[in-house]
Amino acid sequence: MRTDGAREGFRQAMAWLHTWTGLVLGWVLFAIFLAGTFAFFKQELNLWSRPELHALPPAGPLTAAQLAQAERSLNALAPSAAGWRFTAQDERRPQASAFYREPPAKPGERARFVQRWFDPATGEAVATRDTFGAGEFFYRFHFELRSAQQSRWILEGRWAVGLATLLMLVALLTGIVTHRRIFKDFFVFRPKAKAAQRAWLDAHNICGVLALPFYLVITFSGLMTMHSQYLPAGIAAAYGAKTGEYFGELSGDGVPRSRGREAEMAAPLPLLGDAGWSALLRDARRHLPGGRIEAIGLQREGARAVVEIVPHDGDRLQYRGPRLFYDATSLQLIRRADNGRPAAKTYGVLYGLHVARFADPPLRFLLVGLGLLGTAMIATGLVLWSVKRRADAERRKADPGAGHKLVEALNIGAIAGLPIAMAAFCHATRWLPLGMAERPDAEIKIFYGVLALGFLAAALGARWRHLFAAGALGWAALPVMDALGGWPFWQAGPAVQAVNAGFAVVAMLLAVLAWKCKPGAPPLSMKKAVAPPEALAAASAEGAP
């Protein structure tokens, strides 16, 4: 936007929009992308956070005897629970687990969800530490900037993430317009270019162009997952106050769930036993040919208890496919919930694309790579903003100004500081005293505390290399600590060892970044942007934001 009133072209206008949408929430976007990338390994990271499970053998295929045993354990643990949801073991979750709602200690408080894992050898529930779980936290931080275990500022967090995502979409589309030589420079990256700005612009462009389909899908589908909060008017107009009906219809199940006190006062849940579960499993497998079963829920619907059978999400693109509902007493199939209507299916596919439950290990690693590339695209864009302004100031032999210094400190604190905080969270899940009250909240406080320390260090003059080096140490310490901390490191299965190896890789990446940022390093580190004028002019002419 020009202040002198001269006409500007479409491309310049888009360049302006790209620069400022990118900067305003760039730091939040960076955090969303990085945490979201880690959330592709949510199950594995959650398992890593609970060393009590590491020595357990992996469970075999789901059997009726296993369900009957789990049912007995749950009944002993929470006789008054209004329902539970059992999640079967699969290739990413070596042991089965179950959720149930513990009635509130004091009237007026919200019911608390409790999760228990089952020892495959005995079928009994295992006592695990009270932790948020690293995977769960990165996942929650990714879409609602989660700040406490119980719901606090969740809606606000989702609004902030939604705004950032919207700006991300704007930045992507304006970026395509701004990038004039999208095909000509498709493979062009000149890290040794004389002008630092040229090298950074190349890096930003190449990170942006190569994985553009991934960014467009992940950003748009991310926005869609929260559509009911961001665009409530349509739902309100058609459904009025009965928004529950909308969600029921969206999932293909029109029957509202009974919740809260009314259900808790109802009779205790029936026990199906070996015979009941084996009859149910046989019938469900007949209705879901070739499909695995992911979860089994038992809950009340008015007067009767109902079993819900959920097929595995890894077998299709669409999130939430058809589900079966049985009467828990008569064991008869009551209904099949399935919404194959175009709008609901589109939503399910977009949601499924975003959470990528279908991805087998090679595809999952590929998606993680693309997520890291997106993180790099945002980071290089933020750095480019400050490199360009510093180059401009040096050409005019002027001081870059306080705004520039602020952006640079925020860049260092956000980009190099966040990995340290994430490593700190993983440490906290393991080291905090087990008997501590509100332990998950303490883990989250440590995360935000370390993040704040990173910003403070950047404000006090810490450079990129210091924070990257601290991050590398933090991540490298995780596998070392797992091996030496007295946990069952050697008995742990491949999923836990893969997480440890992944931590080591993250540590190495951060170490390389720290090394690259040492003083006097080549242009892609923070070298002074002294460049011959013609190189800079060429860089600016190509629509640099």
Partner: protein, 117 residues
Amino acid sequence: MSLLHPLLCSFTAFAALCLAMERHHEEALDHAPSPRRVKRLRAVAVAAFIVSWWTVLPRPDPGIAWTMWTAQLTAGAIAVAVLATWWPRRLPAAAMAAGAAAVMLMPLLPWSGAPAG
């Protein structure tokens, strides 16, 4: 095999497209490509893209097939960009090796008629 074969194909395809550009051809082989070579390289690229698509196609869920195809396409392009940036002279040989490996692995693909490998 689920990702390896399409990845080899799309790497070959992107490498051919990359070498069909004057700048990258010069960096790899010290001279500009002839118009005939540009045409041939582009034809190779189109063929390799089609084969890469054919390789991911036979899956129960076509949506997953399309997702995998797009994802591996990106990976192939990244690999070419890395070579073109730091090892441009290795690019032609790497492309030929990947293309040859893709052709040799074709009989092992589950729907090629030969016993599955």
